[in-house]
Amino acid sequence: MSTDTATKTTQPSVGDYLRRNIREYGLLVALVVIMIFFQVITQGVLFRPVNITNLVLQNSFIVIMALGMLLIIVAGHIDLSVGSIVAFIGAISAIMLVKWGMPAIIVVPLCIFVGALMGAAQGYWVAYQKIPSFIVTLAGMLVFRGMTYVVLGGRPVGPFPKDFQILSTGFVPDFLSLTDPATSLIKNYFALLVVILLVGYAIYAGLRERRMNALHETENEPFAFFAVQMAIISAVAIFLGFQLSTYRGLPNVLVVMGLLIALYTFVTTRTTIGRRIYAMGGNEKAAKLSGINTERLTFYTFVNMGALAALAGMIIAARLNSATPKAGVGFELDVIAACFIGGASASGGVGKITGAVIGAFIMGVMNNGMSIMGIGIDYQQLIKGLVLLAAVFFDVYNKNKG
């Protein structure tokens, strides 16, 4: 180890970098391996356009909730109530849309607001009354589930009006219409174009960032890693984009999910709010003594979680085309598992949005792949449980060794 403070050593060695970031690369590699494994074993069914579309629709709400859950876990808490919030929001949206005939344009924001209030109701006890979040949200889980039964009177409500259903089952129309969709392989050029543009932008932005970092002598990941990572991500994205474009194009949900992922990645990595949440989770007392209003910050992470759970609740209701009292049962566990598979630490302060998203997709691909293979729900649960344990063991093992 160098003790010379005058020399600036901003470029880490490759081995050093790999050691520090093995979790992230490992995760990405694991996702790709799992995808290829199921692609082979299902004889190509996994990546069929219609299945990819299904995969996105089935997992979007888990991913969306994982964004909020990651912040909660990084802050050092947990939220067990999200499955019940999903059910309750589904229920009240059904009452408002189906029974009262309110327009979707009003119901959607209203429901998100109600979800935020439900988060706030729990955040208050956690942040200001210092009750452990496990207990508060366990109570919330029961209370909100009970409220769902009360609102629905124990019976499913549906079907939803068309303008609400498109939230979940709609696709972005092909603005280009280059060929006749009936005869051509590619049925939605717009989707393909969007994906290619995004990949292009990601490469451009990544390169620009590296150049700026080099100019200002800040840390860069070794170029080989950058290149390989970019190549894998680009290849997968373009392949998936192509497959989607041969079916019905980009699902609306995918767009919403993509925008949210981008937003939360930005918030966690680039803003003071994100930084403060990580600091609070890493050492709450030190954060507080550094002038961070830890109570308010905790409160808002729960408000945020409630709002995202509400959005997920509406997507699920729209997809099932009915609100049932049993909607979202056990979702909180999938969401939490996604975060932990994605590298979040149960003791707080550690975890990344990208990790949680990849974690959610690992779970999603496994669910989907095993269903195609005809593996029963019993073994699916068993295998998912072992994967969670293995992922966390990998973390702990790395930490102890480092």
């Binding site: 180890m1 160098s2 003790t3 403070t5 005058a6 600036k8 050593t9 901003t10 880490p12 700026m212 970092n213 200002h216 002598e217 800040t218 840390e219 680039r270 803003t271 003071t272 709010i273 930084r275 403060r276 990580y278 600091a279 890493g282 050492n283 007392k285 030190a286 954060a287 507080k288 003594l289 550094s290 002038g291 961070i292 209003n293 302060g349 550690v350």
Partner: protein
């Protein structure tokens, strides 16, 4: 009385970057009270951890002879098995269990896992009689005071057939009456033939009970004094503890003292947990620009509590009093407001309260002033790196980059990161609470140099320290606190270890 029970020979213990013990020798005779003294960081606790097996055999150099044989302890239970029992400063009792349950914790009076409560209570009663504690064995620990808890710890040690009882600062948190009782008990045990080692800062107590005194300084043995051959004065002990040339340890400084920056008047604070107990009484003090002001006092005098209650009411309740910055009253009722007013507080416990250990140097540096590296809440990465690199160079933080995690830094460098964080908030007055605790002599010198630089830049420094030589070496003025009050204000010329101790003792007599 002359047989040697314990001999530690040539003990050397190294931590990454610090040599905590360097060839230390300790010889304890059977049936005596042996005092171990030295400044904070001299190595007393480390030595006792080596003895008890907290640091297992092999992690240090040197030999331990106990009862005539070389011993190699790899766990605490190895040493306890031979009757070496340590009572730590922070008592290791379970608050919500009874006295009897605590005494036999891990050593239950049980057959096949079923506890014989009758027998346990009877034995507890016998032990409590021995230590003179009149409480029923079923009383919960949380319901008795610290003094009595200390006695429970001793009773627990007696239950384990103790041969060598080690007490780490046993009277630090006791009042005079409880302290006296405890010391009498130790002397009684001695008359029954028990051997004990007592670690203490209270030299008057040591003088009262010790047969021999071993003095440690900077990780080495200075000398062992025999109290029966000569009359050992407190000054004699202090000379051994301090012993070195003061000029070498503290960088020189020409104070340029300006206007009054911080002034606190009639600061009254009630205890955080015991809410009807007033902890700080009418504390008033001032810090001027370019001045280094010290607060001296024993543990529990209320120094840290003064700082923390002042800094955004982080401690205590029912806080009253006035705070002025440059003569204008300011609101310091929350931490952001205190920072806004120009205060910074470097905590005594940098790992628990100062740093986010799992985060890197850069993130720790900017934590208290994220606004300074961001626009509309978006952090400018490059600006942040520039700031962190700047402080890394200015304070000479030894690390391979600003992206190194704080947990991997040495104590001195961690402290510099905490200092960076607070300097970046651009404070007018820095409160430094034990800024050199647990860091080695070289790093201490660097911290003093930084303090001098800050004073030269016109900042006011309020320094809390338990190391009197440090206060004497760096401060322009020293307040002495005792039992929640400021009991003396000494100029640099008036201040000495004797005058500080005298002020503390005299105030103790008054109340």
């Amino acid at each position: 009385m002359s047989k040697t029970l314990l001999e530690m020979r040539g003990i050397t213990k190294t931590f990454p970057g610090v040599k905590a013990l360097d060839n230390v020798n300790l010889k304890v005779r059977e049936g005596e009270i042996h005092a171990l003294v030295g400044e904070n960081g001299a190595g007393k606790s480390t030595l006792m951890k080596v003895l008890s097996g907290v640091y297992p055999a092999g992690s240090y150099e040197g030999d331990i002879h106990f009862d005539g044989e070389v011993r190699r302890f790899s766990t605490i239970s190895d040493s306890e098995h031979l009757g070496i029992i340590i009572i730590h400063q922070e008592l290791a009792l379970v608050p919500l269990l009874s006295i009897a349950e605590n005494i036999f914790l891990g050593n239950e009076v049980a057959t096949n896992g079923v506890i014989d409560w009758k027998l346990a209570f009877r034995r507890t009663q016998e032990l409590l009689d021995k230590v003179g504690l009149r409480e029923p064995p079923g009383t919960l620990i949380t319901d008795i005071g610290v003094g009595k808890q200390q006695l429970v710890e001793i009773a627990k040690a007696l239950s384990k057939k103790v041969r060598l009882l080690i007490l780490d600062e046993p009277t630090a948190s006791l009042n005079e009456k409880d302290s006296d009782a405890l010391l009498k008990l130790l002397m009684e045990f001695r008359s029954q033939g028990m051997t004990s080692i007592i670690i203490s800062h209270k030299l008057n107590e040591i003088k009262k009970v010790a047969d021999q005194i071993t003095i440690l300084r900077d990780g080495g043995t200075v000398e062992t004094l025999d109290c029966h051959h000569e009359d050992i004065s407190e000054d004699r002990i202090i000379k051994g503890m301090v012993g070195r040339e003061m000029e070498d340890r503290y960088p020189p400084r020409e104070p340029k003292i300006g206007e009054t920056l911080l002034e606190v008047k009639n600061w009254n604070v009630f205890h955080q947990h015991h809410r009807d107990r007033q902890f700080l009484h009418d504390v008033s003090f001032a810090v001027r620009a370019g001045e280094v002001v010290g607060i001296a006092g024993l543990m529990g005098a209320g120094r840290t509590e003064t700082a923390m209650s002042l800094f955004g009411r982080s401690w205590g309740h029912k806080i009253t009093g006035d705070v002025f910055m440059r003569g204008k009253p300011v609101d310091v009722s929350t931490i952001p407001k205190a920072i806004e007013a120009g205060l910074a507080y470097v905590t005594e416990d940098r790992k628990q309260l100062g740093l986010v250990l799992i985060d890197n140097i850069m993130h720790n540096t900017t934590l208290a002033n994220l606004g300074g590296v961001s626009k509309a809440t978006v952090i400018d990465n490059r600006q942040e790196a520039k700031v962190a690199s700047g402080y890394r160079q200015k304070l000479r933080i030894r690390s391979h980059s600003i992206y190194q995690e704080a947990v991997n830094l040495s104590g001195g460098n961690q402290q510099k990161v905490v200092l960076s964080k607070w300097l970046f908030t651009n404070p007018e007055v820095l409160i430094l609470d034990e800024p050199t605790r647990g860091i080695d002599v070289g790093a201490k010198f660097e911290i003093y140099t930084i303090i001098n630089q800050l004073a030269a830049e016109g900042k006011g420094i309020l320094m809390i320290s338990s190391e009197m030589p440090e206060l004497l070496g760096t401060c322009d003025r020293i307040y002495v606190m005792n039992e929640g009050r400021i009991v003396a204000e000494l100029s640099k010329a008036e201040a000495s270890q004797e005058s500080i101790m005298r002020a503390i003792m005299r105030s103790g007599e008054k109340h």
